[in-house]
Homo-oligomer: 346 residues x 2
DNA sequence: GACGCGAGGTTTATCGTTAAATCTCGGCGT
DNA sequence: ACGCCGAGATTTAACGATAAACCTCGCGTC
């Protein structure tokens, strides 16, 4: 009776229920569940397994977690769910963690708040490990963040030295991209999403590469070609339209992200400009979609697979029994150019 | 000493630690934490709050969950992180649940296994509610799925009547899209991603709408125009290329998803065909990106916002104290045409 | 015959939090 | 003087699973 009431209130049968039905102790059931077969005879094991199936038992992960301290879940915080760099990263990471018996779950760093909200709160306690992208977050907040959950940071910001950190070589990548455009004949390269200043945000770093390539080639920097704004498809589209509308001459576009480059491409086609004959275009990130634009987009491959590998390895090593002691590491794979159809042939 | 050891082993301070430092009982701390201020005097409250900050206490969600049965988390299972439709859905849902103090976390229904893996296992026990898209999953498996966690299904498959279910009007939407193309003069409409047969998978349903519109217009159905395959950008791109290569005449394209339509658009442009003059194009889903293609894509809006509303409402009502009794509901918002630049003007 | 040993169990004590019941004590009505 | 009240706390008992310590035999050994 009280048992029925319990069942109705919440949850299915517990280990104790199974134990009672099978005429054994809870621990024996637990041992069967966890495959500790040395401690259980073949006969009892059979009996327990039968009862397990009969009652439709499901392990309660929350309880197990409280006791063992492991959930088998790794969290990934992304700025938003829209497809692009982070969804591809998520897929890559999910594969890798799955290979280690861990499941990846993705959370959005809620719209307006800083990422830190998603850390500082107790939210982390649910995960065995956490991957956090530091985009808008303030380095300050990170400093005073104390968590026991292993964390790997991704992103370009300078972060406290105690964190493992995986990042792209933004400056070099951007310099390579710009240099390629110059080498292929471009003289007036529009920079979409650019941001000057000596901070270390992604746009600032990539802009720095853009500027460095210009200086190296002794090419004048034209401030009117550095277009600020977001990095979405729409932003690329609008910035190119504005350039044309304002009659600012340009013969190449370096968009800070592939998504933005795709938008730029669209605007160019719409305006009747030929790519790469009239205007060359290059992006950054090497998203899988970029192979299927027209023409296929030239871009910077920031070492996506190596980054995913590194994130996974670093986090796993921290999650091990005594991996806590190892000093924090910084991994920055080399960037590489992918020349496709939006830049002229060498 | 033993306290230090404990701290070092795992986790920060517990309620008990705080209580000891503040010279009160655990319950008093708990009451302060949960804002049950009627039970705590102003003075003690101050003291506890001070100690809380001093020790850097963070609530352990797992323990709370075990005790209260609530996590404050809602799960969403998607087939992949990358496709556009699910990312947009996830963003929509995250906003809505956030407004109710719940956080949405997204899981991938692991690559090859059926979605049911993500349900049948204990994984669900972590969530207060779960949204599951039934794409490849077998209806059979769903039948024998017994969980206490409230679940809302999304997707086109017929599902057991005991589940709340939100779906698109695939047939009508596809019929409307096809009819529009015919009305605008199309006579040979290629169907990308089509699948005949009387199943109720998304492609089959949308194909049914395509066929129905043809019959209604007494327009011959040409089997060579029904192109099977996936629904990604690449698939749309390749199918159009194949059509051209095989010299199959067509004057319109109905792509089963917007993503695929974008790929088709690219291939058409590349082939020098003008849209919508030579070939009209229409997609399905009304992804936000489609506004920024060239020309902007005409498409079918399946009622995305209403679907998100419905999913949220249904799940929330099930999550309430005694919402379990309400009979299961099926919600299917009306589809609506969005005429943009890839179809001719009326 | 005392002892050790290991296979196959069971008991006990938590993990951190909270619902519910219980305690304490000064004030107040009759 | 006695009972009652209620604000402000405390104590107790879970939630479900499991690590660690502890039983209990039957059997082989010196």
């Amino acid at each position: 009776m009280s048992e029925t009431a319990k069942r109705a209130r919440r949850g299915g049968p517990t280990i104790a229920d199974v134990a009672r039905h099978a005429g054994v102790s809870s621990m024996t059931v637990s041992n069967v569940l966890n495959g500790r077969s040395q401690r259980v005879s073949e006969a009892t094991k059979e009996r327990v397994l039968a009862t397990l199936g009969e009652l439709g038992y499901r392990v309660n992960l929350t309880a197990r977690h409280l006791r063992t301290g492991r959930t088998g879940m790794v969290g990934l915080a992304v700025p938003d769910f829209t497809p692009g760099y982070y969804s591809e990263l998520a897929d890559r990471l999910a594969d890798r963690f799955a290979a280690h018996g861990l499941r990846l779950v993705v959370e959005r760093t809620s719209g307006r708040r800083s990422e830190l909200e998603s850390l500082s709160a107790a939210r982390l306690s649910v995960y065995d490990g956490f991957v956090l992208s530091v985009v808008a977050g303030d380095t300050q907040d990170l400093e005073q963040l104390s968590v026991e959950t292993p964390v790997v940071l991704i992103g370009e910001r300078t972060v406290p030295a105690r964190f493992d950190h995986v990042l792209m070589d933004n400056v070099t990548g951007a310099r390579m991209a710009t240099r390629l455009l110059i080498k292929r004949g471009a003289r007036r390269i529009a920079l979409l999403g650019g941001a000057t200043g000596d901070g270390d945000s992604m746009p600032q770093l990539r802009t720095r590469g853009y500027l460095a390539a210009h200086r190296a080639a002794r090419l004048a920097i034209r401030p009117e070609l550095i277009r600020p704004g977001g990095f979405r498809r729409l932003d690329g589209f609008e910035q190119v339209r504005l350039l044309i509308e304002e009659e600012i001459a340009f013969d190449a576009v370096f968009a800070l992200t592939d998504t933005e480059a795709m938008g730029a491409l669209t605007a160019l086609v719409e305006a009747g400009l030929r790519v790469p004959d009239d205007v060359q275009v290059i992006g950054f990130d090497n998203l899988s979609d970029t192979r299927f634009s027209v023409p296929p987009l030239s871009t910077v491959e920031p070492g996506n697979d190596r980054m995913a590998d590194a994130i996974c390895e670093l986090l796993l090593s921290r999650m091990e029994e005594d991996g806590e002691r190892r000093p924090a590491q910084v991994v920055m794979p080399a960037a590489r150019l992918v020349e496709r159809g939006t830049t002229r042939a060498g």
